[in-house]
Symmetry: D2
Subunit: 282 residues, 4 copies
């Protein structure tokens, strides 16, 4: 048997589950996992189904599915689970998120193909190469930002990248780039959104005297720090913690939250509905 992951998005209507389950029965399949949600604000219906089927021909299975659900005009995704998503990781100098992703990949925790690392610095080359991931240094200067993004677009095309992971990448991507890859770029923001936006959030948190600090993984849109949130977490801090302590504690939350978000994306568990995400977590 072959394991498939199907995702479906359309306006809600009676009969969608029936139609998809009919197609799955028709191809001799069996549902292993099924999650669905109808967003009350937009009326959007989202579904994720993991099923097994005797045929490994994705196009055949997709054809049958499409025939049965076409009347709902869905956005339909289907892939073999074994055919993993391909991710490109972007990083600047801080390496804690990249190191964590590479480690988890090695441990078998992340069902994802890490195809390349891109950085505007040389700092993480040794780390990447030790894990046999090609490393591209793409410097960014104010006047060369479009050139850098052109290189990045080439790499995304060459490596057939599904997902761009900003793992503490400190450059701002242009709105044009963000729009062209909408829903494919995830960022870790080193703050508990919508708390401290902008620069030096841990220093802001210290000055404000908050008792919890956090991190947020979110999709990147043209509107900086304001894309749909995928996951967040916090840790308790006392008055005795200095800004450097908050930064160190923040590293733990950042790498954990980003890794959770990347895993959710690697398993097609996240859908964007308006300004919000639907997350079919386990």
């Amino acid at each position: 048997m072959f394991d498939y992951i199907m995702t479906l998005r359309c306006a809600d209507a009676p009969g969608i589950v029936h139609a998809t389950s009919e197609a799955i029965v028709a191809v001799g399949g069996n549902i292993l996992e099924n999650d669905q949600f109808t967003d009350p604000v937009t009326g959007q219906f989202c579904m994720r189904t993991r099923f097994e089927a005797p045929s490994g021909e994705v196009d055949d299975v997709k054809g049958r599915l499409h025939a049965d659900v076409a009347r709902f005009q869905p956005i339909l995704g289907l892939r073999l689970e074994a055919h993993q998503r391909r991710a490109l990781v972007m990083v600047s100098e801080a390496d804690h998120c990249l190191a964590d992703l590479l480690y988890r990949r090695e441990q078998g925790e992340l069902p994802l193909d890490l195809v390349a690392v891109v950085s505007n610095h040389a700092t993480c080359r040794a780390l990447s190469e030790r894990h046999d991931v090609p490393y591209y240094e793409v410097p960014v200067a104010p006047e060369s930002k479009l050139d850098a993004e052109a290189t990045l677009r080439d790499l995304i095309a060459t490596y057939e990248v599904d997902l761009v992971v900003l793992a503490r990448y400190m450059q701002i991507l242009t709105p044009a780039f963000c729009n062209d890859f909408a829903g494919q770029i995830v960022n870790i923001h080193h703050s508990f959104l919508p708390g401290f936006k902008g620069a030096r959030p841990y220093h802001q948190a210290y000055e404000r005297g908050v008792k919890l600090i956090g991190a947020s993984a979110h999709f990147v849109t043209g509107d900086l720090d304001e894309g749909p949130i995928i996951d967040q977490d916090v840790v308790r801090v006392s008055h005795a913690r200095r800004p450097q302590d908050l930064i160190a504690l923040g590293r733990d939350i950042e790498r954990t939250v980003l890794a959770r978000a990347v895993r959710l994306l690697a398993e097609d568990r996240v859908a964007i509905v308006g300004q919000r995400t639907v997350v079919f977590a386990q």
Copy 2:
């Protein structure tokens, strides 16, 4: 439209979702929520579906459902969502869990009918009656335990009780009683199972010097404190906390965890599979 909650349990096989969704389509229904899980240990398939349908005749809808899924030999549950579960709460002297359940019921947080309170003490009578819930004092002495349980059985029958909630009820029910109401009795254990069983768990926790204390809501089986766990939570404690502090902190966790478990049960979100529960949480 009428809202229904359907629960289904059977050995896993291809076509179950298709069959149920066919029946729902056939009665003019539309699925609002759907959760399912196949337990890898037992091969049991569990499903919970909330759907709306134009008919309010439960028997008609159930008949159609049954016809379509009978070949899977399921345990099938169906009720109108508006037809709430009926709970009887048992309590001894500590009133924090009872007070919390009554308060949440009043706030509209618990979609449950609290039909009666039974206690082996008079302590909580005023509290119950202030919330217009009848209070039955059923004393328990070693020699009168079966008499007390006979009274309890009568109350359960009279009030058509679906769920017995042991909200810090300090008497042990007989194995016969537990078996007769298997899957219908929920208890809050004032410890993080499988940590400290038996008496005075907070004192045990203090002596052991744990850094987290917890509480567990679980189904009651003949094997005391060992039924399937529904929910658990913990709170951090320092060396400076004395046993009485742990007891006070424990009250918060106990009432919160029990209320969460009772809500899950009120919404038919919990299934027992072997020694474990499947919880279709939101």
Copy 3:
């Protein structure tokens, strides 16, 4: 022996601990708990010491203490632990925080004297009076705000109030009032500051699609929602939760966080240093 709580604030300098411990030795005392912190930003030294001494004459003990530490020009507080802080609670229509404070007081969790409840509504009268706490209905209209605050000032004076607890009080106090009682007013903000300020924070949180919601207990200053934070907490929420669910989950965090903050204040464990609090938690 009599138990005392001493608090001391001054610019940091060598010898402060020595001087205070000398005074405690001189009055035959023994230190039971001692916490201290020097704020690196302001250079302020904060100390809280719980000690026992054979004399119950506060003025005598304070005199000796003052003599020994006067050269540091401290703000010095001393009271018998048995002489509890006196709190006035303000509430509007939502009663969950008030009910929780009254319940904890009754359970012996809050070493605080709840002397009166003030509300701009009649809603919580029965609740307060059931716990034998006098209830004052002080309506507030735009044109009568100063009259209402005059009444409030009278009550504060009459009851010798140390602490004003805004337990979901929905009126805004004037800057003059906030300044006159600076460091004595605590509020529960139904959001994770500095997240969603202003009205309907749970609806804002829902629209933003956050994955954690929270509450913050903070001192009230003229600058609304921006006083020093005492405690905060969060709870995880999924996309499936509607605004009314967030409100219900929020009630739990609000009452828990406010109760923790009030207990900290009741035990003189909180000092304000600039925009931040020093919290000597257990």
Copy 4:
């Protein structure tokens, strides 16, 4: 100025703080941090003081301290903060805790000298050597356990080791070894003690159907898994998580809890009192 960390343990009595602060004043010192606790069960008094003083001669400062507090017959510790604790890490095949400790050391999060890694396997050699930490492979067979411990004792002596960190070391040390280094060996137990002791705790947790899994860092005593607990943490798991998921989630808690415990020990923030620890956390 030189920064010192002093620790003191004795039976509680009036005047201890006064005596120590007198000595600190006498050497021209200034207290930077001070924590103390009197254990109500044993009557033991524990104190940790960080202070600065103009002299860098530890023996001089210690001499003066000792003279002033000798009448309390304390166990007195004093060191320059810059003179870091020396740790030897023991590991078997799983490398996540070791990798994490080495990474944090490199980031400046752990004020500790990692002097050597000892393993009964070759697995982690490359990792250790990449961080310039010498690696000793000391195989353990039932008949050679005492020989292995003799080698270990030699390494502890040679490297002047203060702390032995069992970072997922899967061999059991002999009671004699544990006794000889009592209070100097910390272990990470891959379970939430006193939950699942013994082998395969995540499988036990899965079978029991717990909703939270955890890890505990504790001192090692002859009584396996039963030494005083230093820190613990948990993570929420659902029914959908398989044993391998629990193991992966467990890695995160294990490395985080162990790192926290090691940092506390590196900063002399942990005292053992009977079966419990006093932890002067920030």
